[in-house]
């Protein structure tokens, strides 16, 4: 008797099995005390406050958030590209003949990458004081390290034939690198950069929730004072801004023929070079104006603040923290949230498949998930649920469901639908055709992305520390408000280690998933497009 062996289409649905224990546990942690408040909150969605004062301050907050996102993003791209080139083995090999400095820089970059932008923000707040530059840097630093990794991965994965040709023809190393590797790298980089901008907008909002200014701050304040109508004013504005940005980037991506994340097709910038150049040039004055407007003045901003007088570190007390429980809860919450997001997105798509209107509904739900910073979701959930790991996991899961769901729909629109079409022309219902025809091909790249996303969720788990008892994140919030530097350092170190281990594991999983991946379309670009999954 052979054991049942699930085939590819079922893989994408397996994580949704986490729903079963979750549904069993939910009654135990729900108290239903605040359903009235949840009702008020939902009702307020239909009648957001349109008072000029509220609207004005929300608009201004949005503008600040967008400006922070844009500036942080632009800085991260520039810095990331430089660091990426500096950590490419190929570049070192071509220019200096040795590869170890690349390895070293790569290792060093793992640290800024493993720390969430919120922690960067709070740390920089201590060093630079409360000013807009803090949010910009908090986005720029970890994002730059992420971009650097993608750039160096891409560089090292490019076919080297053209480069060797130029080198043997006597070209200088730098010129040869630029000529041989620049053109194939650019479309990938632009596409990835676009996604980073979307992430930057989400991060800037989140940083605001923790008091670094902009719309996030307004959202947090209005939620805390339970002023739901004012809250929705900000949320609707943010939703419009986010959807516009996504549409714009999607449009540019199509126009400039850049690859989608799950569609591993070949891409090139082609004949739109001039347009691209103009768009880039137009961005520079915009950035300068925005920087001036939100009040970034480097001359006075680089005022290094003395650290507060530190109490003598009490390491025994730090060691006595319940580390096993803290780490265990953090990991548990991450896995729950990841399974929820990864499994629920295809399941919902499958359920909604036959009808056009449910697709719109799903898109709306997913947009709300992306929009809504997880700590705010967590605070809302507290109206009806008890604080703890599950509540945190639900908040994180909802946010990431929005990200993954959109990715899935995107691959729907651009993916190859032959097998699905064939099944449906043979009278198969739309759901089964989706399951057999599309999920089969999507399984590996989607799960590989899910593994990467798990990594992101682990890093993100710190932001739901607000809801209590969620592991390292909550402890970190306590340590921050106590200004306990020793405990903070220990917690940060634990987080960084955990993230690095998580990254290693998810890398392995991804390599395994990709090992058997069928390139969705032939061509050498398929191999080089894979690192895009890291975005």
């Amino acid at each position: 008797m052979r054991l049942p062996r699930p085939a590819a289409p079922l893989w994408v649905l397996l994580p949704a099995l986490v729903l079963l224990p979750l549904l069993l546990l939910l009654p135990a942690i729900s108290h239903g005390g605040g359903w009235g408040l949840v009702g008020d909150f939902a009702a307020a969605a239909l009648r957001p406050s349109l008072e000029p004062l509220v609207l004005g301050s929300a608009l201004e907050g949005l503008a600040i958030t967008v400006a922070m996102a844009l500036l942080g993003w632009a800085a991260s791209l520039g810095l990331g590209l430089l660091l990426g080139v500096a950590s490419s083995q190929l570049v070192w090999h071509t220019c200096g003949g040795v590869a170890w400095p690349a390895q070293l820089i790569r290792r060093l970059l793992a640290l800024p990458r493993s720390i969430h932008e919120l922690i960067w923000g709070l740390a920089l707040l201590q060093l630079l004081g409360l000013q807009p530059l803090v949010a910009v840097l908090a986005i720029a630093i970890p994002f730059a390290a992420l971009v650097a990794r993608v750039v160096s991965d891409q560089l090292d994965a490019l076919p080297v034939a053209a480069l060797e040709g130029l080198r043997s023809a006597g070209a200088r190393p730098a010129a040869a690198l630029l000529t041989a590797l620049g053109p194939p790298l650019l479309p990938q980089l632009l596409s990835y950069g676009g996604y980073r901008l979307e992430c930057a907008l989400r991060s800037a909002t989140l940083l605001g929730v923790f008091g670094l200014g902009g719309l996030g701050t307004e959202l947090r304040l209005t939620l805390q004072s339970l002023a739901f109508r004012e809250l929705w004013t900000g949320l609707w504005l943010l939703l419009v801004a986010m959807l516009l940005l996504e549409q714009l980037l999607g449009g540019l991506r199509r126009r400039w023929a850049m690859p989608e994340r799950l569609n591993l097709g070949r891409a090139s910038v082609g004949h739109r070079g001039r347009e691209l150049l103009l768009a880039g040039l137009a961005l520079i004055p915009l950035l300068v104006i925005l920087g001036w407007w939100i009040g970034i003045a480097p001359a006075s901003d680089w005022r290094w603040q003395p650290l507060p007088p530190l109490a003598a570190a009490d390491w025994p007390a730090v060691a006595a923290l319940p580390w096993a429980r803290l780490v265990g809860n953090t990991v548990l919450m991450t896995l729950l949230a990841a399974a929820l997001a990864v499994g629920l997105a295809p399941l919902l798509l499958l359920l909604a498949q036959p009808w056009g209107w449910t697709r719109w509904l799903l898109q709306g739900l997913w947009a709300l998930g992306r929009l809504w910073p997880p700590p705010l979701t967590a605070l809302l959930l507290l109206f009806v649920l008890q604080p703890g790991v599950l509540t945190g996991a639900l908040a994180l899961g909802f946010h990431n469901l929005g990200v993954l769901g959109r990715l899935l729909l995107e691959s729907n629109d651009h993916g190859q639908r032959g097998a699905e079409q064939a099944l449906s022309c043979a009278g198969t219902g739309p759901r089964m055709a989706l399951l057999y025809g599309r999920f089969s091909g999507l399984a590996r790249p989607y799960l590989a992305y899910g593994a990467y996303r798990t990594d992101v969720i682990l890093r993100e788990s710190v932001v739901v520390g607000l809801v209590g008892a969620t592991g390292l994140g909550s402890q970190l919030m306590e340590a921050l408000s106590a200004f306990a530097t020793d405990e903070l350092l220990a917690l940060l170190l634990a987080y960084a280690l955990l993230t690095l281990v998580g990254e290693e594991l998810s890398d392995r999983l991804r390599r395994q998933l990709r090992g058997g991946a069928r390139p969705l379309s032939p061509g050498p670009a398929a191999a080089t497009a894979l690192p895009l999954l890291q975005g």
């Binding site: 052979r2 049942p4 062996r5 699930p6 085939a7 590819a8 289409p9 079922l10 036959p354 032959g418 097998a419 079409q421 064939a422 099944l423 449906s424 022309c425 043979a426 009278g427 198969t428 219902g429 089964m432 055709a433 399951l435 057999y436 025809g437 089969s440 091909g441 399984a443 590996r444 069928r518």
Partner: protein, 254 residues
């Protein structure tokens, strides 16, 4: 074979039109296909052959005219349409097998139109209906050992036959094939054509688009399609050289 008498037509197209970007992709196309008939569809590239097949299998709804299946009008509700499509099998030019699944799972995918969810999901967990699948493979001279192999591990010729075997599993009455021979070497092409013609005996029928007028004599009827319009509908014996020349005239060669 040529008994065009009282027997109910499998497929009947009446004055079909499909709009296109610059000019109509199909215009005023009518045809009747009866059980046992094996019909070749000839025409230059861009003549509308693929569109005609897509109208036949329900992928493209025509903007004008009507489609009848077994005497009933083409299903107006999605449910009825699917019930009709369940008996129409298409051999796609790119085969459109599910690469990640095993041969057996792909063959059983031909049954999805009639299966409920439990069997559809079980098929992704366990080998189902091994007997029927083995029979389908053997009928096409394929080794039953292939059942457990993923489709991505098969050779080109094996894939062609697996795709055909899926149509057998589907128990299709009408076989549609979109230039199935185009990408095959002559030996494989002959073999596949033999199989298709053999499987299309009554009560089945076959409509096959073709680039090679030299094979027309093996069919019962030949249709000529050009610029979205039907130029002729003849038996191969009636087909004359001038008609073929007119079909391919003016640069748009075969």
């Amino acid at each position: 074979m040529a008994d065009h008498g009282l027997e109910r037509a499998l497929l009947e197209l009446r004055a079909i039109a499909v709009p296109g970007r610059r000019r109509p992709r199909l215009q005023g196309v009518s045809l009747v296909l009866r059980p046992g008939e094996r019909v070749a569809l000839l025409g230059p590239s861009g003549a509308g052959k693929s569109t005609l097949l897509a109208v036949a299998n329900g992928l493209i709804p025509p903007s004008q005219g009507s489609v009848h299946w077994l005497g009933e009008p083409r299903g107006l509700t999605p449910h009825r349409l699917r019930r009709q499509q369940a008996r129409i099998g298409t051999l796609w030019q790119d085969l459109r097998l599910v690469e990640e699944l095993t041969v057996q799972q792909n063959l059983n995918a031909g049954r999805l139109a009639v299966w409920g969810w439990p069997r559809a999901v079980l098929n992704l967990l366990l080998p189902l209906d091994t007997e029927a699948c083995t029979a389908a493979l053997q009928r096409l001279d394929l080794d039953p050992q292939l059942l457990g192999q993923p489709v991505s591990a098969l050779s080109g010729g094996q894939r062609q036959r697996v795709a055909l075997a899926r149509l057998l599993r589907q128990e299709a009455l009408l076989l549609l094939a979109d230039e199935p021979l185009a990408s095959l070497d002559p030996r494989l092409a002959d073999g596949l054509l033999d199989l298709l013609l053999a499987e299309a005996a009554a009560p089945r029928g076959l409509l096959l688009s073709l680039h090679r007028p030299d094979l027309a004599h093996r069919f019962d009827r030949v249709l000529g399609l050009r610029d979205g319009q039907l130029l002729f509908d003849l038996s191969p014996q009636q087909l004359e050289r001038q008609q073929l020349a007119a079909l391919y005239a003016g640069g748009a060669g075969p």
